[in-house]
Subunit: 468 residues, 2 copies
Amino acid sequence: MSADILDRIAAIIGAKNIVTNADDMVPYLKEWRDLFRGKARAVIRPGSTAEVAELVKLAAETGTPLVPQGGNTGLVGGQIPIAEGRELILSLQRLDKIRMVDVEGDTLIVEAGVTLQRAQEAAEAAGRLFPLSLASEGTCTIGGNLATNAGGTAVIAYGNARELCLGLEVVLPDGRIWNGLRQLRKDNTGYDLKNLFIGAEGTLGIITAAVLKLFPLPAARATAFLALPGPEEALALLNAAKASAGGTLTTFELMPRVGLEFVLRHAPGTRDPLSEPSPWYVLMEVSAQSASGLDEALEAFLGDALEKELITDAALAGSLEQRNAFWKLREMLSEVQRFEGGSIKHDISVPVHATPEFLARAIAKVEEMIPGCRPVPFGHLGDGNIHFNVSQPIGADKEAFIARWDEVNHEVHAIVADMHGSISAEHGIGRLKRYLLPGVKDPVELDLMRTLKATLDPKGIFNPGAVL
Amino acid sequence: MSADILDRIAAIIGAKNIVTNADDMVPYLKEWRDLFRGKARAVIRPGSTAEVAELVKLAAETGTPLVPQGGNTGLVGGQIPIAEGRELILSLQRLDKIRMVDVEGDTLIVEAGVTLQRAQEAAEAAGRLFPLSLASEGTCTIGGNLATNAGGTAVIAYGNARELCLGLEVVLPDGRIWNGLRQLRKDNTGYDLKNLFIGAEGTLGIITAAVLKLFPLPAARATAFLALPGPEEALALLNAAKASAGGTLTTFELMPRVGLEFVLRHAPGTRDPLSEPSPWYVLMEVSAQSASGLDEALEAFLGDALEKELITDAALAGSLEQRNAFWKLREMLSEVQRFEGGSIKHDISVPVHATPEFLARAIAKVEEMIPGCRPVPFGHLGDGNIHFNVSQPIGADKEAFIARWDEVNHEVHAIVADMHGSISAEHGIGRLKRYLLPGVKDPVELDLMRTLKATLDPKGIFNPGAVL
C-alpha cells in the first residue's frame, strides 16, 4: 500500500478523519481486556454510507483489506487486525444518526455507529423497549451487535440481535449499497439476504444502518434472587417458570456460589441478599404490562417452588434500588474474575435440557485436569448458554495456568461437541476462535461458508482473517 | 430425459413410488383453487433423506429439473411446474417421521413431509405449543411451511415460520446433505445458512427435516369480536392492546363488513355475534399462562376502548364453542369469496402504521377503476399484512372482471411500492409472481439473489422457473 491511497481516502472523508499516529490508534487496536494489541496501517472514519461505499470501491480497486469496527468491545478479536498490519480499520463510529423513530409501527432506524445504549434510550423516550441488553451497552454499537448477532440477558424473551432486526443497509465488497431498510413485519419476496450479513462479522458486507424492532415498554417488573441446590433444580425451575409466566419471563440467569463470592469480595457496595450460602443461584425476572398482581404471582410461584424443593431460599426485590442491587451481582460477575488471577474462558451452548449434564461433565473434567481450579460457570440458562470460565487455583502461578488455555478449551469443547453444542454461543468466531472452526464444523457447512465468502467477496477485502 | 432415468430412480426408491399415470398425477399438478394445472414427467416419492440425496445426485448428473412439493397448498405455484413438462415433482410427503420431541428443551424435530397439524398435535401432546397456524394446516407440510416462510394468524406474537425454526437438514443441489439440525437457542459459529434455505422456495436446497421451537401451552385464552368505525381506529386499538397485553396479544385480525356478509351468506351455521352492522371488525385474542383475571382484564381494556370510541361494540367469547364460532368467521373468509364471483387477489404488507393509509388509497383506486367492485381487504393488521382481495361487481361478467387481474395488481402494487411495502407478505413468489419481481426489487438485491442461485445451484436443477 502506497502513501497515496491515504491521499485518496483523505479526498473522500477528509484528512482529519484518518488516524495514523500510533498513540491515537491505540483505542482501536487494544483489546479491551488487554489480552492483545493489533496492528493496522491506519484507522479511517467515514461519516456517511456514501463515504463508506466510496472507501470500499477504493479498497476493491487497490486490493486493500478493511476491518470494520464499531465500539471495539468484541470478545473474539473480530474487530482488530492482528496479522500483517496492512489492514485499514474502518470505524463506523461517525455513522451515528438515529434516522427515524416510528412509534406506531414499533420500529427504529439507526446507523451502525449508534451505541446500543443510545438505541435503548431512543426507544424508551418514545415509550417503547429495545430489549437487546449487554454489559458493554454504553460502548458497543448497533452495527457491531448485528455483525456479531449479539445475545445478552434478554434473549430468553426477545431473541438475539438477529431476531430484533427487520432490515439492513449494507455496503457490498464491490462498493455497491444494498438498501434493505424495510420496516415490514412480513416480506416473502425472495432470499433472506439480511440474515446472511447478520452474524457474518463484517466478512461479507459492511452494515451501515438497520431497522430495529421495538416492543411495548413493560409497565412493571418483579425480580427475585434465588438459592438452589444445583443446575438440575434450576432447569426444572426454568421449565416451571416458562409454563407459569410464558413470554413474560424475561430473565433467567444462573450463577454458582464461587461467582457470587468473587463479586462480594471485589465489587464495592455489594452484599449477599440471602442469609445462608447456597451452591447455586438464579436471577429471575418477570415483566408485565400491568403491575397489578405481578408480585403476588411471583410470590405464589416461588412458594410453590420452595415446597417442591426446587429452591431453598428467595429474596424478592421490594424496590428499584433492590432490583438494581440484584442485577449488579450478575453484571459484575465477568469483571471481577480478573481479581482472582488467571481465568480460562469459554462461551458455549448446548440444548437447554442438556445444560446440567454439560455442567457436571465439564466441571469434573477441569477439576481432574487442574486440581484446585475454581470453575465459575454462569449465564443464560434459559438459552442453554453458559460462560464456562475457570479461575486458577488459589496461590497458583497465573502464567503457568493460562498456558493451559488451549488444552482446557480442547477438553471442554470436546464435551460440547459430544453434546451437539456450540463453541461460540454469542461471542462469534472472530480471529481468536477461527482455528477451532474446522474442528467443530460439519465439512459441508464449512464448504458452503467458504463458497459464500468467495462469491460475495472474491477479492477477500472484508475482514480477512476473521471467521474463515 | 430418457425412460431409463425412471429405471434408475426406481432402483433408488422402488417403482411403486414413481407416479407417471396422468390421472394419478392430478393431485400433484392441480392448483388447489383450480386456477391452473401443471405439467410434469413424473412424481417421485422418496422415503428418506438418503433417498432424496441419491435422487438429487442423479438429477445433477443428468440435468433433470426437480420441483420439490409438500402438501401442494401453496398459493403462488411454487410447487407446480407449468412450463415444459420435463420436470420431476419431488414429493416430500413420505418423509413423515416425527424424529424427536424434546419437552425440557422445548424443541421438536420433524421431517419435511409431516403436516403442520401433526406437528401442532405432537407439541400439544407434550404439553407445548407449536404456534404456526394456517387455514391449510391439515394438509400443508413443515417442509413447505419453511420453504415459503409461512405466516398465518399467530405471527404477531410468535413470528413467521423462520422465527420458529432452530435448525435444518437440507439436501444441496449436488446431492450432499447438510446436517444443520441444531437444537441450540444460540450459536454464533459462522454464517446463517439456515435462513438462506428458509423462504427460498426450494430453489437453493431441499429441506428434509427441521428443528422447531416449542412454547408453553397457554392455559387460557380470551377472545373478542369487535366492531369498529375504520382501520384508523383498528390501528389505535392495536397499539393500545400491545401496550396493555404485550406479548400475550396473540391475534389481531381485521375484516370489513362485506367480508362478514359473505361468510354469513355462504358458510352454514355462522351468525353475526353483534346486533348492529359495523363497517369493520377485529378478531382479537389474548393468551395467558393462567386464567385468573384474564377475562376481567380484557373486559376492562374493551370498556376503555369503548369510552375512547376506538370500538363501537364488542362480543366476548364465553365458551370454547363461542370462541370457535368467532374464529370460524375469520377462517371462512378466504373460502367464501368464490361464491360471490370473480376475486382479484393480493397479499401485501406495508409498515404497520401505514396500513390505514394503504387501505384508503387502494380501496379508492380499485373503486375508481371498476365501479361497483367490492373490496374485501382482510388479515393480519398486527403485521401490516392485508389480503387485499377485490370481488367483482354484483351481476358483472366474471371472465371480463378476472381479465383485469394484471391491471388491478399493477395499480395496487404501485401503491404498495410507493409505501415501501411488499407485494408478497406471506405467500412467496413462486411462479405466479415471478414476473413481478424485477419491477419491485432493488436491482442490487435481485443481482445478489441471482448470484446466490448461480453459486449454489449452478446447473439450475432446483425448482427452475420459481422465484427467479
